[in-house]
């Protein structure tokens, strides 16, 4: 079986200038009920790995540096 890769925009974006994941912070990854955020090991910043968002906002509210922004997923906007 072969797989196609579909491009998707994701609702959660992270300001790489503000993100302090390189210093060991994992708050947004920890609090996400759907476990859809991850830390990019090369960049050392958080990003949305899976497009499975409830736009519930703990990641944004709990981020200590205000780096995370939750938008409404495009399909719902």
């Amino acid at each position: 079986m072969t797989y196609a890769m579909n491009r998707l925009t994701v609702p959660v974006t992270v300001d790489e200038e503000k993100c302090i994941a390189a210093k060991g912070c994992t708050v947004c990854v920890d609090v996400c009920p759907l476990d859809v955020l991850a830390i990019d090991p090369i960049k050392g910043t958080a990003y949305m790995k899976f497009d499975e968002c409830w736009y519930c906002m703990p990641c944004e509210k709990d981020c200590p540096t205000g780096a995370v922004q939750v938008d409404i997923p495009y399909l719902l906007r």
């Binding site: 079986m1 996400c32 009920p33 759907l34 736009y55 906002m57 409404i72 399909l75 719902l76």
Partner: protein, 576 residues
């Protein structure tokens, strides 16, 4: 990938609302017990109240309401199909729970005399207590867990319960969504607090995770209880809610109602007398939506500026705070426009309607050592406060059970079988991605189970579900995260099949839109004034049967019985 063995006395599955309360109360009853909360997400921000809650929908507070009155209200709202004992236990414990939460630091609205500022939203009584500062619920609960030294494990998804040779609880098995490690937890008792089956129907946006319920609540607990041989009840009484169209969250009439907001049709006119969510209300909502006066809106644009800013402050900071962002994106202001509303996808949730794992007034299920609380436990219209009350009851009952029961031996065969099932998708090469299977399954749920319910459609639905069941072995997971999604599909499929079978079994219409069967359009009390139960039979097949309704503790008079049947506002006939 390892297999990890853990031993506890009380295992609480689910760390949202009922779960933390259950763990705290088990520990309070006997501090020597080893109590563990096992959470699929992270206890700090999990479950239906991850961002807090804007109010109590069912506070029974002396001076405002009586337990008897509340039991009547819920009996009528749930069309008579209730075990009143369970509702009465909730009603009589509700006030003490509010006081305890208050002492823990949860803020409820009070008037100038310090009394709770309860508002009227229901048809008959007064039970809604606003929590304008209710965003810190999870912090309050987390503090209690830490204080009482409850063990917490995050990112573990329970997949099956373990039973001893007599069919009593021996523990549970789980998979880690980060490492795919397999966990075998030996426990004297298990408390299920996994929330609603919220990922059953597909939202009309087509976005799988844009559900009304927190989509982490995929119905795992319904499936766990079912495979352990527990009875489930009222599964055919679907949860269907009136929501903000596309955003798919509450708009929310319980908050805006007491301020003067209301549900209106396209002309801005009221068409229902009462905005409290019930099947009967949803039926009128559906008729208006589909009729010439549709669509349906939440109307606030007639209210004063200061009222609207108060509403905005509550709605845009609690429960579903991204509501404000959604409206802003479409240029909607409560001051000038109305909020377009729609009907949610179907789900199973006793917190709002009446479908759940059967429990008695001690939160005991029909499996010895297994307890259930919150949205998945069948105590109709239970809401958040009901989750707390039944969490408490479950925790206390479980602690008592531990005093007289030893740990049961673990059956190696059950463990081996389950590990094989759970790790299966990791070994499938060129298989089906979970997202594709879930999309198809939930689209079929919409096509065949969304009311109005049609017999032949539900039968075809069962065929489609069986075909998807045959595909489960082809599910492939590229990583532990996808493995969690794959195992969730197993649970969603169980819930879909239960929903179809229970709906086919009850050959009448009841609960307004929740169980509107066009082939049997009338309510039939003569044959169907009973609970419909679903259970895994000895031969492994899904079976449905009836359970009679226990004599009422609080009698209803004829007028009260029909209170929720007359929600539509009667129009004065136009002058000739």
């Amino acid at each position: 990938m390892d297999t990890i063995e853990i031993e506890v006395d009380v295992l609480v599955i689910g760390g949202g609302t009922a779960g933390p309360m259950a763990a705290a109360k088990a520990k309070e009853k006997n501090p020597a017990l080893r109590v563990m909360v096992m959470e699929k997400a992270n206890v700090k921000r999990s479950g239906a109240i991850s961002m807090g809650m804007d109010g109590l929908n069912n506070a029974v507070i002396p001076g405002h309401a009586t337990p008897e009155q509340y039991v009547k209200e819920i009996t009528v709202a749930n069309d008579g199909i209730v075990n009143q004992k369970t509702v009465m236990e909730y009603a009589t414990s509700s006030f003490a729970m509010i006081q305890e939460l208050d002492s823990w630091g949860v803020k409820f609205e009070k008037d100038e005399t310090g009394d709770y500022a309860v508002k009227k939203v229901h048809h008959i009584g007064t039970y809604v207590l606003p929590m304008p500062e209710g965003h810190n619920m999870k912090k309050v609960l987390y503090r209690q867990l830490k204080k009482r030294r409850v063990d917490i494990t995050n990112r573990l998804m329970a997949t099956r319960l373990l039973l001893d040779e007599h069919g009593a609880i021996a523990g549970a098995m789980a998979v880690d969504s980060r490492t795919a490690d397999f966990h075998v937890i030996r426990a004297k008792t298990v408390i299920l607090a996994t929330g609603a089956a919220g990922r059953l129907g597909m939202p009309s946006s087509g976005y799988l995770f844009g559900t009304y319920e927190n989509p982490t609540n995929a119905g795992d607990g319904y499936s766990l209880a079912y495979h352990a041989g527990a009875e489930l009840s009222g599964i055919e009484c679907f949860q269907i809610n009136p929501l903000i169209k596309d955003y798919n969250g509450p708009s929310c009439a319980y908050v805006t109602g007491p301020f003067g907001g209301y549900t209106a049709n396209a002309n801005g006119d009221r068409f229902i007398e009462c905005d409290y969510w019930s099947g009967q209300m949803m039926m009128e909502f559906y008729k208006e939506l589909e009729g010439g006066n549709g669509p349906v809106f939440l109307k606030m644009n007639h209210l004063a500026e200061e009222t609207i800013s108060t509403i905005e402050e509550i709605l845009h900071s609690n429960e579903r705070p991204s509501r404000g962002r959604f409206h802003e994106g479409r240029g909607l202001d409560y001051r000038s426009g109305m909020v377009e509303m729609h009907i949610s996808e179907i789900g199973l949730c006793s917190g709002h309607s009446g479908s759940g794992v059967w429990v008695n007034e001690r939160a005991e299920t029909t499996v010895p050592g297994l307890y259930a609380a919150g949205d998945l436990a069948c105590v109709p219209h239970n809401y958040m406060l009901g989750a707390f009350v039944y969490g408490k009851l479950a925790g206390e009952s479980a602690a008592e059970y531990c005093a007289t029961h030893a740990l049961a031996a673990i059956d190696g065969k059950q463990v081996e079988q389950e590990r094989e099932r759970v790790w299966g998708p990791l070994g499938v090469v060129d298989g089906l991605p979970p997202s594709q299977v879930e999309y198809k399954l939930r689209r079929m749920v919409n096509d065949y189970l969304q009311p109005p319910k049609v017999t032949r459609k539900m039968e075809i639905g069962l065929q489609r579900f069986a075909e998807i069941r045959a595909d489960l072995g082809r599910l492939s997971a590229a990583d532990p995260h996808e493995l969690m999604r794959a195992m969730e599909i197993h649970a969603i499929l169980d819930c879909a099949e239960m929903a179809a079978r229970a709906s086919l079994y009850r050959k009448e219409s009841r609960w307004g839109l929740y169980h509107y069967r066009v082939d049997y359009p009338e309510k039939n009390d003569k044959d169907w004034f009973v609970h419909v139960q679903v259970k895994k039979a000895a031969d492994g097949a899904m079976s449905c049967f009836t359970r009679s309704i226990e004599p009422y503790l609080v009698a209803l008079d004829e007028e009260e019985k029909t209170a929720y049947q007359k929600l539509r506002i009667a129009k004065e006939p136009a002058a000739a």
